[in-house]
Amino acid sequence: MGEKKSLLQLKGITKIFSRGTVDEVKALDNINLDVNAEDYITIIGSNGAGKTTMLNVVAGVFPPERGGKIIVNGKDITGLSEYKHAAYVGRVYQDPNIGTAAKMNIEENLAMAVLRGQSRGLRAASNKQCRELFHSALAPLGLGLEDRLNAFVGTLSSGQRQAVALVMATISKPALLLLDEHIANLDPRTAQVVLELTEMIVKKEKITTLMVTHNMELALKYGNRLIMMHEGRIVVDLNQEQRTGLTINDLITAFEQASGRRFIEDKILLRR
């Protein structure tokens, strides 16, 4: 292989919560993952499989257990605090309220996002040049937000807020984009719009993306690689060729073989 550059490497990542108590949970169990530049990986798994925990580790919300390593662009960032991880990682959350600041307007939100990972000083946060950049970043969304830079984000609908959050996560062109069920809280039509926007931005900016979803259909339709997690481990890892032509039933079979469990137990948790 060798022709593709490795962008993110997770080496021996384990995460244990409430260690030493009766509630001890091994949320991640020795995860090893090599993500190539410009990969668009969809991640599925039932509740408690460790999907979000894995994103949290990559985003630096908490460090992995000793011995685990997070390497981005050849740089070991293990143990750095969350705000330092942010230089490499843009993230869109399930809840649109988390990705944006409601009491500030669109322009101010984007002005904060455009400086991701850079040192901030006493320069004016936004100027004409910035506004032109924001305009051109928002215009392709087709939501008319580019003409409402002064609108307070709290007055937008959840779909619009999530679209702004998506632009905020990507406007500084971070190495990695983490999507944590970012359409799960939206109504079906808005979800479709935001999903298409995601596809457009990821393709245009060539950002390496990890998308967590509960929806197997989406997991097959989008991206170029599919990962299935179970009990803190990666149990299925399909590249573009392997997953071409697969159906949801094939995925279920793969899941049952890999996890040694009947899918029926998880059916309520994984949406068809």
Binding site: A59, S81, E82, Y83, K84, A86, A87, R91, N97, I98, G99, T100, A101, A102, K103, M104, E108, N109, A111, M112, A113, L115, R116, G117, Q118, R120, G121, L122, R123, A124, A125, S126, F152, M168
Partner: protein, 304 residues
Amino acid sequence: MPPIIQGVLNTSISEGLVYAFVTIGVFLTFRVLAFPDLTVDGSFVVGGSIVALMIHVGGYNPFLATIAAFMGGLAAGSITGLLNTKLRLPALLAGILMMVGLYSVNLLIMGRPNTPMLRDITIFDSVASWFGMERSTLLVIIVFAVIAFIVFMVLNWFLRTEIGLTLRATGDNEQMVRSLGVDTDKNILLGCSISNGLVALSGALVAQNQQFCDVNMGVGMIVMGLAAVIIGEALVHPRGVASMLLAAFAGTFLYRLFITIALRLGLAPGNLKLITALLVIIALAIPYIQKKLRHEWMPPAVRW
């Protein structure tokens, strides 16, 4: 204009300007940072006691003393911020502990509970001597207005800078700010510092204006600040940075106007704090009662 109205206006304008720094300080922590900081009662006197020490005891230049008072407030606020961010004390408790602790610190600074500055040269005397004037109410108002204008301009600029924007967002959505690569602990530290620096500046100017500093002069300052914030918001409905700051000035002026009129009408000064407390209680309870009447859902009361 009848002299009585002139007198009421003069008092409310000058007090409205000087106490506006307390209001802005309270506004910065409570509203901008969502950090209910009660350090204010202590840091107000930090400002007063530092100028009392430097001007009365040390004979220093009053401008130097005022700047030192501001820095004393910065230091007090940064300790509150550190207690919260580094030692994880709840914001309310961190502020209460600082308020109590600063009482002793202020006594230590002054060396006694009350320092008169009747014969000392304050910034008002300095400014008066530059222009060869006598110290007068108008002069005090002008000095306050100039300082208020500077504070307004600096904050209006600062809150729009790259750092200022993330400071404002920290109270709005701390998780988002961190996910954009900003150390929110630093922002809280910075915000608490600036807030208490302004409060101490106010204390320093009030002490020089009334020509004495008393260790108890900060009691209830936080409630006064909150009342002024609430009045200002009700009056101006602020949206942007400039209108938020103007709301603080307007709120403080109106609050002082009410108080001055009430005192002239014969309200016993001792009842002032009770009235202010009731005002804040009513203002905070109204939205809840309105929602209750409309059978709307309300989140449970915050208890920390």
